[in-house]
């Protein structure tokens, strides 16, 4: 084979598939082309060292503050998307089913609440039963959410370089999951506040800060940066708090009739952290 052109070697560096096998075979026998490829690799590696300033963890929030006054208001209701013409996804897309399922669950819950409350003796407040049902739904959803959050935090706590010499650790998977959990967390925290469960809202608030911290970390971190993230998680004792609250919610869910407010012992346990 003739020597590959510079263009082909650059494409080879970029991982292009076309002609890859032929070039690899040629490189095995040609020190000249090996040196040429090494020069391309060295140059592009050197260019990778140019730093990009970190705009800060709250950068997204700052961008929103700057642009939100300039955004025109759109007409419609947020639930319209369930029934709207598919613009970004077909009607059978999983998220539509998930959202429809959530709404169906709420409707069912409201129906059950109505059924439960009707046979009650006159004078029994209907709102009590409805509140219980709503609380039960929240308990189940938050319990599951805390379980998933715990999993991400445990994975981060146990992560590290695969080899002793590895300079960076990829935490992009954990980061994306933290981003997804963050939105759910905000919703549950607000709901817990509305339900008057300030203790649960407090733990969710702390969890939100940790998830925000993870979500805004670089995708590739050095072992030192990873250690710093881990220390911040440990300093807040969030993993322990999440476990305590998760267990408490599980007990509440199992008993079904447990009080809405957390027990004093559990409160004490949380406060110890």
């Amino acid at each position: 084979m003739n020597h590959p052109k510079e263009e082909e070697l650059i494409a080879y560096h970029d991982g292009e598939d076309a002609g890859r096998q032929t070039i690899t075979a040629h490189l095995g026998d040609c020190p000249e082309c090996q040196a040429e490829l090494a020069r391309i690799d060295a140059l592009l590696a050197a260019l990778n060292t140019i730093p990009v300033p970190d705009p800060g963890e709250d950068y997204g929030q700052r961008v929103w503050q700057q642009i939100s006054p300039r955004l025109p208001q759109r007409r419609g209701h947020w639930w319209d998307f369930l029934f709207s013409e598919p613009k970004t996804a077909p009607w059978f897309a999983p998220h539509r089913w998930a959202a429809a399922g959530a709404i169906a669950a709420l409707v069912l819950a409201a129906f059950i609440a109505g059924r439960i409350s009707k046979p009650n003796a006159p004078g029994t407040p209907v709102a009590v039963d409805q509140t219980k049902v709503r609380e039960r739904i929240l308990v189940m959803a938050v319990g599951e959410h805390l379980g998933r959050s715990e999993m991400v935090l445990v994975e981060l706590a146990n992560s590290g370089p695969d080899t002793a010499g590895q300079k960076e650790v990829n935490i992009s998977g954990e980061q994306r999951r933290a981003e997804d959990l963050l939105e759910e967390n905000r919703l549950y925290r607000q709901t817990a506040l509305e339900q008057g469960d300030t203790a649960l809202a407090g733990v969710l608030d702390e969890l939100e800060r940790v998830l925000l911290d993870v979500a805004h970390s670089p995708q590739q971190v050095t072992p030192a940066q990873l250690e710093a993230i881990r220390q911040r998680i440990e300093a807040r004792g969030i993993l322990f708090k999440v476990r305590v609250v998760g267990k408490e919610l599980q007990q509440r869910e199992e008993s079904g009739s447990a009080p809405a407010k957390p027990s004093s012992s559990a409160k004490g346990e949380r406060n110890k952290v």
Binding site: E6, L47, T49, W79, D80, S84, A89, E155, R176
Partner: protein, 214 residues
């Protein structure tokens, strides 16, 4: 450690936020802005070479994304889409700036970590020799300056390909050109950078090989 990325989940959740925004829930767009701003900023900084312009590109990209949201197609994900809008706007901005300042050469702006890659800065005629640059640890400055020598299209192609990991088709779309033209632009950008920088990179390699830290 589980390294399985939840890309699908993220795209799925983006799609919900897009639908809700289109249905009138403005706060849903906030989720998209907060999730993708830093990534778009990295692209914008590498393209424009300075923080001020990069921040403007980020804001404009999200404003345009909001305005054009009804045109957003399911074949792309929101992150890729807003990234391309930012790249398009950054090229326009670079071209405009270049034409406005075509008759004057602006000095590169100094920052804490060296010289910012202002687009209008240029390598002075009396640039120091490779030896002197390598010895004075100015390779990073030289690299930034070399990037400013690329045309806006070359710079966009280089940034998207080598820093953004974009495919040729995506670059072609941003450059509004054919895939073969985009491929050529990527090649030309690397060729120009090699011509300018290889002597400095090799010099640094030699100095390091001799055990001297720059």
């Amino acid at each position: 450690m589980n390294r399985m990325p939840s890309v699908e989940t993220s795209i799925e959740s983006d799609a919900i936020a897009v639908e809700r925004t289109l249905a009138g829930d403005r706060d849903a767009f906030r989720i998209l802005v907060e999730r993708h701003s830093r990534n778009v900023y990295r692209l914008a900084y590498r393209m424009t070479g300075n923080q001020h312009d990069a921040e403007e590109v980020v804001q404009e990209a999200f404003l345009r994304a909001y305005q054009k949201l009804s045109q957003f197609a399911s074949r792309a994900n929101f992150g890729t889409w807003v990234y391309r809008i930012a790249a398009n706007y950054a090229i326009d901005r670079m071209r405009q700036k270049k034409s406005e300042d075509s008759n004057r050469a602006l000095p590169a702006r100094e920052t804490e970590d060296g010289v910012e890659m202002d687009l209008m800065s240029s390598v002075p005629d009396g640039a120091p020799s490779p030896e002197r640059l390598a010895q004075s640890g100015q390779l990073a400055v030289q690299m930034r300056r070399a990037l400013t020598q690329l045309t806006p299209a070359e710079r966009t192609a280089f940034v998207m390909r080598h820093w953004g990991g974009s495919g040729i088709e995506e670059i072609a779309e941003a450059l509004k050109s054919s895939t073969s033209a985009a491929k050529n632009t990527v090649f030309r950008s690397v060729q120009k950078l090699r011509k300018t920088l290889e002597p400095f990179v090799e010099q640094r390699g030699r100095v390091r090989a001799m055990g001297t830290e720059l």
